[in-house]
Amino acid sequence: MSDHPPPAPAEAAVMPHGAEEVRAHLKIYLAVFFALGVLTAITVGIAYLDLPSKNLAIAAAMVIALVKGSLVALYFMHLIKEARVIYWSLALCVVFFAALMALPVLTSMEHL
């Protein structure tokens, strides 16, 4: 028999989105929408600039896509404030995703 008190309910750590909280977020959603639009215009603009280096063009496009993707994930998918179990699940997902992206590099290696 343990005298330890039962663990506090985990929901206390993850605030459910209340109506007031959601109302306060509406402006953020519109700001993210605006930012996504501007970043899309920049992506297309950069592609037509014909940057001197192809690697630079790829890096610029990928950085902008990462920023756009992060905005969607953080604010629209609410990852900015989410339960720990989701962060850990996604961390595992990121590791395997990175491994997938590294596979093409491995194929060009002479030996490991």
């Binding site: 663990p7 929901e11 993850v14 899309t40 699940s89 995703f97």
Partner: protein, 276 residues
């Protein structure tokens, strides 16, 4: 005995979130692996190719940009649909959910135009030394089949699969205008014996188009699947709002997570496939 799935609305005491939300996130993690595998293959194929065309020289950038804007806007209307439920505004939810569906359908319509443009665009490889090759000044020409002069009352299909599809064994072909020009050259008549190969810009054409149709096709199927779910929750599924609003709101949140993921995939597809 209750048949309700436990912890589908209230946070599970161990994970801190409802099981439904954990479920959709794990599904999305598996989706990351699906698209990740295809992106990885794309990188391998592209870096291993001796030459690879710049997407923007072949694909329709204005249409793809329009679709990017449409999908981003649909993400906002989706999150507004969920926020409306949280604020107890069911009428606004219906409005934003409808807008999301219309935008999703708009995406598919634009995609149909984009695909149509490719499937009706041809490349002809002319027989070396033939009169047509001499006239064209090149062995390969790209362009469209001219319906007006196709004969047979225009009944000839531009989906030519074999020489048997050619009306009178020939086609009337309008070559693409030279780069920088918008004036289409006059139609020329090409006989079957002048042509070594006639192929449309479909997935079979080359590795670029195989990758393009695979990635955008899989993404398009996800959009279609999303439309079905969005429609269900707008129409019959929305009855739950009257009996169990909290659970319904959770369902819309999960739908939203999926929809934003579809947007997220496009955010990476657009530059890697179309622009670079």
């Amino acid at each position: 005995m209750s048949t309700a799935i436990p912890w589908s609305v209230k946070p599970h005491p161990v994970t801190g979130i409802p099981n439904a939300k954990l479920g959709i996130w794990l599904f999305l993690a598996s989706e990351v692996m699906l698209f990740g595998a295809l992106f990885s293959s794309y990188i391998l194929i592209r870096t291993g190719s001796e030459q690879w065309p710049m997407g923007r020289t072949i694909l329709n950038i204005p249409l793809a940009t329009l679709n990017t804007v449409i999908l981003i806007t649909s993400s906002v209307t989706m999150v507004m649909a969920w926020a409306s439920l949280k604020m107890n505004q069911f009428g606004k939810f219906k409005l934003f959910q409808t807008l999301t569906i219309l935008l999703a359908l708009g995406f598919m319509v634009v995609k149909a135009f984009e695909y149509g443009g490719k499937l009706h665009h041809y490349e002809v490889t002319l027989v070396e030394g033939s009169e047509a090759a001499d006239k064209a000044g090149a062995l390969k020409i790209t362009g469209h089949i001219d319906h007006a002069t196709a004969g047979n009352g225009g009944a000839i299909t531009s989906w030519i699969r074999s020489r048997d599809d050619l009306h009178d064994g020939k086609i009337s072909f309008v070559a693409d205008p030279p780069a920088g020009s918008h004036e289409h050259p006059a139609a020329i008549e090409l006989a079957a014996e002048d042509m070594e190969r006639l192929t449309f810009f479909g997935p079979h054409r080359d590795t670029f188009f195989a990758v393009y149709f695979t990635l955008t096709g899989l993404h398009g199927i996800h959009v279609l699947g999303g439309i079905v779910v969005l429609l269900y929750f707008l129409l019959p599924g929305s009855r739950m709002w009257r009996t169990d609003p909290e659970r319904f709101t959770g369902r819309i949140e999960c739908t939203g997570l999926y929809w934003h993921f579809v947007d997220l995939v496009w955010i990476f597809l657009f530059p890697t496939l179309y622009l670079l």
